[in-house]
């Protein structure tokens, strides 16, 4: 544990010195603060933040994560020659990447909310869900970035795969779902649609946010499966659980690769 903290400490110094993380923080801060200035109402800001969480966090996290992993190869190799277990080193490297990304997000978005507050206390839980799903997505896409960069030694190829993965999860996947739902519209599609949604981390975060923003519309839906899913804690629990799996499974696969990898 002690060693992990040391690794995180030095990596954090490296990450912050590289300034990208500060630019990311400033970018999020300016967007959020700007939205407060222009729209003036916290409810509108919260609504716009859905896109920050669902679109920006995944693409920025995965591309920054991959680029960082390749450029910190020296750091990794230097540490590998030290008396540090590979598992420990992996945990340290992962945390040293996921934590600053999450903190930049929490700070960039959270500070404007601390400055301006929320209009009504009910929005506080909405903000909380937004922050939590943003952090969860930061961790998911850090896991994926680490996994991708360890799977390929070619930086350009790795980055390409990362952007493709993002594009697939953010756009193509949902497009295919919609297309499929039209093709198979004679069949009962509720369960398969819901099932497919549970397999995509961006969709999972989206479902969590829908539960907060669109409950009224969701309850207007006729299907019993949706109703059970969205109308009970079941939906929230399953989505959060699946999102956790999306963090843990790529993390563990990455760890397996890292422990066996030649540097």
């Amino acid at each position: 544990m002690n060693t992990i903290l040391k690794i995180i400490k030095y990596e954090l110094r490296d990450v912050i010195r590289s300034k990208w993380i500060l630019i990311y923080f400033a970018f999020l801060f300016l967007i959020t603060e700007g939205m407060f200035q222009f729209s003036g109402s916290s409810s509108k800001v919260l609504l716009s933040m859905i896109n920050i969480v669902l679109i920006l966090i995944p693409i920025i996290t995965i591309s920054y994560g991959i680029i960082y992993m390749y450029s910190s190869r020296e750091f990794t190799e230097m540490l590998l020659a030290q008396p540090i277990k590979r598992k420990t080193l992996y945990t340290g490297l992962y945390s040293g990447l996921a934590l600053p990304l999450s903190l930049a997000y929490l700070g960039g978005v959270g500070i404007p909310f601390i400055i301006h507050g929320v209009d009504e206390s009910g929005q506080f839980t909405v903000l909380l869900i937004l922050l939590m799903s943003g952090v969860a997505l930061s961790f998911v896409f850090t896991s994926l970035a680490v996994l991708i960069s360890l799977s390929s030694d070619d930086k350009v190829k790795g980055l390409g795969i990362g952007i493709f993965v993002w594009l697939f999860m953010a756009v193509v996947y949902d497009g295919a779902l919609l297309f499929g739902s039209y093709l198979l519209s004679e069949y009962p599609l509720e369960k398969p649609m819901l099932g497919m949604t549970m397999l995509n981390p961006i969709d999972l975060a989206r479902v969590l946010l829908m539960l907060k923003f669109d409950m009224s519309a969701l309850m207007g839906y006729t299907g019993a499966v949706f109703k059970k899913f969205f109308g009970s804690p079941y939906g929230m629990l399953l989505s959060s659980g699946m999102l956790m799996l999306w963090i843990i499974v790529p993390y563990l696969i990455g760890k397996r690769i890292f422990v066996r990898k030649d540097f």
């Binding site: 669902l54 919609l178 839906y221 299907g223």
Partner: protein
Amino acid sequence: MKSEYKILILAFLLATITLLQTSLSARDIIVDKNGNVNSIKKGLRLCQIGDRLIVKKGYYKERDIEINKSVQIIGEDFPVVDAQFKSGLFHIRADGVRIEGLVIKNSAMSFVSEYAGIKIDSAKNCIIKGNKILYNYFGIYIAFGADCIIDSNTIVGRTSKSETTSGNGVHLWYSKNITIINNKISKQRDGIYLEFSENSTIENNISEDNLRYGLHFMFSHRCVYKRNIFRRNVGGVAVMYTKFIHMYNNKFENNWGPASYGLLLKDINDSEIKFNLFHENSTGIYLENSMRVKLEKNNFIDNGWALKIRSNSMDNDFTDNNFIDNTFDVSTGSKHNFNTFRKNYWSKYSGYDLNHDGYGDVPYKPVGLFSAIVENNSPAMILLRSLFIQILEVAEKVVPAITPVKLEDVQPLMRRVK
């Protein structure tokens, strides 16, 4: 001229004296469990027109209490009258009856009779005030009544799960000039139900958690609904086949469900709906075959759909309303639009106001592509807010293919209407 005056004054004096005499001669008859008159029915037999029946605190197992003369029944400390689910309770057949301060409970369920806590049959000028009308099949049932006041009653139905085994809280049938005010109604079939009942005022009531509609009326023209709260009703509020309704300052809240509407308008014409709040309903207002309805200065906040308008609804006018944070603002289910939207505030509007006249320079199109998609492919709902859907929405805004081109607010407000 002068003699006519005298006659008028004389008539007035005579009337005053008669009134004075009746009130002077009016007696109080005490009903007390431990007294000589130990039942309401016994008391009523002793009553003459104009008498007051004072019911002391106690538990009265009575039912089918017929009131054939103009009397007042006043409860002290809420005596309980219990029909033990055998039949109905009070049955008023005379004008000018007043029932106040009673707990009236447990009328029987029946498929052939409208067993009610209080049934008013072809009577006028009755006042039902401050009663607790509990666990009855029907709460208050008025047939062919007129000029009655239902005031400050608490009406709670049985926690029955089925619409058929539960009656309505306040039920009006062929009645007119009825005032329903300050009541709290819950767990009935319909909270307030009017059929063929006109010129009535429904004001300041709370109707919630009913099995069907919080308010339901058909063929009941020229009624006014003000400052009522309708919430968490399984079906919301449904109003049908009626003209000249005025709905002001009501709240329609938390009516969630696929067939649940804040307000369902079916065949409603020439009416006004103003200053109402529609908050967190699956559908704020559903308009079907309704015409010339003026909707002004209403707030639609956090609804699934603020408005669902069938294409057979025409010439309805939406002005100065606030549409805030609804998942969908308007859905039409068709490419056509025959209604007018102007000067509304839409929280989703992202246009600009370069000339600072308070109106956005670009029209707002409240019907999105996705609401049209969900219309005929409902499982697609799960894709709400997906980036893919947002890309489609932008494409549709640029080249409209599915959404109604003419449905737009050409003067969208930049700030919400206060």
